[in-house]
């Protein structure tokens, strides 16, 4: 039986693993390669790496981090942050990434989804959707690591990215990120039931119950950051606890 994937999400800034709240207020937690190896050895099903700075000036350092990480793990690695073209995607795929997650650039140029998908296969094209809940309860798609509102409805956008060739959706709830108060189950369920491709929920995981609730809401995979980075719990313990709740999990 296909299992629920547990995916540590590592956000990187200037060679450091960092973690913030609502994608802001960043705190250094260590070196990404060290954490990545530990998570992989602990049973992580995949890893997600996001470069939060994504400046061209520092890009070579970032590529080197991806290379060093990819060399020491034997599970899939998704890389995101600052990927603007097929050539950019190629650089990270060559460095050892299995998939690229793209947010800002596909909003500016949706044809990039088809181009990356055709070049590397749809499984390599992860559409990253960063979503903010508004005061009236509706949702809005953001770009630039949660800085720029777009006016786009995330559900309509989710359908569009799939029709253009995205093989997977990374759905980040900016309003929940770093809060330990749970994923946004309402939007998660809407999107997971609307699109025919797997959805990775991201932003808000704080307890095992949050993970169980997200699985029940239709998530195919769960991105987890703060819970792991601040050593509140290990990947192994998370998976064991989920298994006792009768959720299909690879131990």
């Amino acid at each position: 039986m296909l299992t629920l994937r547990i995916i540590p999400k590592l956000e990187v800034k200037n060679e450091n693993l960092i973690k913030g709240i609502h994608l802001e207020g960043l705190r250094i937690v260590g070196k990404p390669e060290t954490a990545a190896l530990k998570y992989a050895q602990d049973g992580a099903d995949e890893l997600i790496y996001i470069d939060l700075v994504a400046s061209l000036y520092r890009r070579q350092n970032w590529i080197n981090i991806v290379k060093r990480t990819a060399r020491q793990i034997y599970v899939p690695l998704t890389v995101g942050g600052g990927i603007r073209s097929v050539d950019d995607a190629k650089i990270f795929m060559r460095a050892g990434a299995d998939k690229v997650a793209i947010n800002t650039a596909i909003v500016k140029n949706p044809r990039l989804i088809s181009a990356v998908s055709q070049k590397f296969g749809c499984q390599a094209m992860v559409a990253s959707l960063e979503v903010q809940k508004k005061l009236d309860g509706s949702y809005e798609l953001y770009t630039d690591s949660g800085r720029t509102p777009t006016g786009i409805d995330p559900i309509a956008w989710a359908k569009k990215v799939v029709s253009l060739g995205a093989g997977e959706i990374l759905l980040t709830f900016i309003h929940q990120d770093g809060t330990y108060t749970g994923y946004d189950l309402i939007l998660l369920e809407k999107i997971a039931k609307t699109v025919p491709v797997p959805v990775i929920a991201s932003g808000g995981a704080g307890t095992i119950d949050h993970l169980v609730a997200a699985y029940k809401a239709g998530a195919d995979a769960l991105a987890i950051a703060s819970m792991l980075h601040f050593n509140k719990i290990s990947v192994k313990t998370i998976k064991q606890k989920l298994k006792t709740k009768k959720i299909p999990i690879r131990i």
Partner: protein
Amino acid sequence: MKIALIDYGAGNLFSVERALKFAGADYYLATKPENILRADKLVLPGVGSFSDGMNGLKKNKLSAAIKQAVAKKTPILGICLGMQLMMTTGYEFGTHQGLDLIAGVTNKMKTAGKLPQIGWNDIRIKQPQSPLLKGIKSKDYFYFVHSYVTRPENPAVAAATTDYGGDEFCSIMSYNHIYGTQFHPEKSSQAGLKIYQNFVRNVRPAA
């Protein structure tokens, strides 16, 4: 013993190479027919569509060399698309001729699940005696990324099967000297590395 890793432009060889190194393989990248014909074993990787894969193999006359090598009993391991290309016919975006090393077709999964299937799924072993499966057990998990599967005509070709949303498909092939995995062993942690080790150490080359 030399293993040729066939490089025909279908996807990333980075992780396959790393897994071969881990398994202690003496391998080289093969981009020409003569490099395929002089190998003791072949690895046919692949990510992408059936037609792109076959076009890549035909372009440099690699498909004819693979058929010739396999006809003289050189063992081959097809991975993901590589395994799918070993079938007679592929039905991804049209009808395409495959390598025809194994009689049968590659077609879309008939599943209640989402496509592509992405993630870790377990196997049910049908041929415990296969040299590719030493140390591998039923219920071991492997990493899958695919929408299409192989349907060998001869059920004895399947060394293991996997169920995804009601479609039980061939996840490992082992038939004479022809082997394949629908999953990516190079992305399947310890269990996957065992598959590479078995192909490198446990599968005998042609006499």
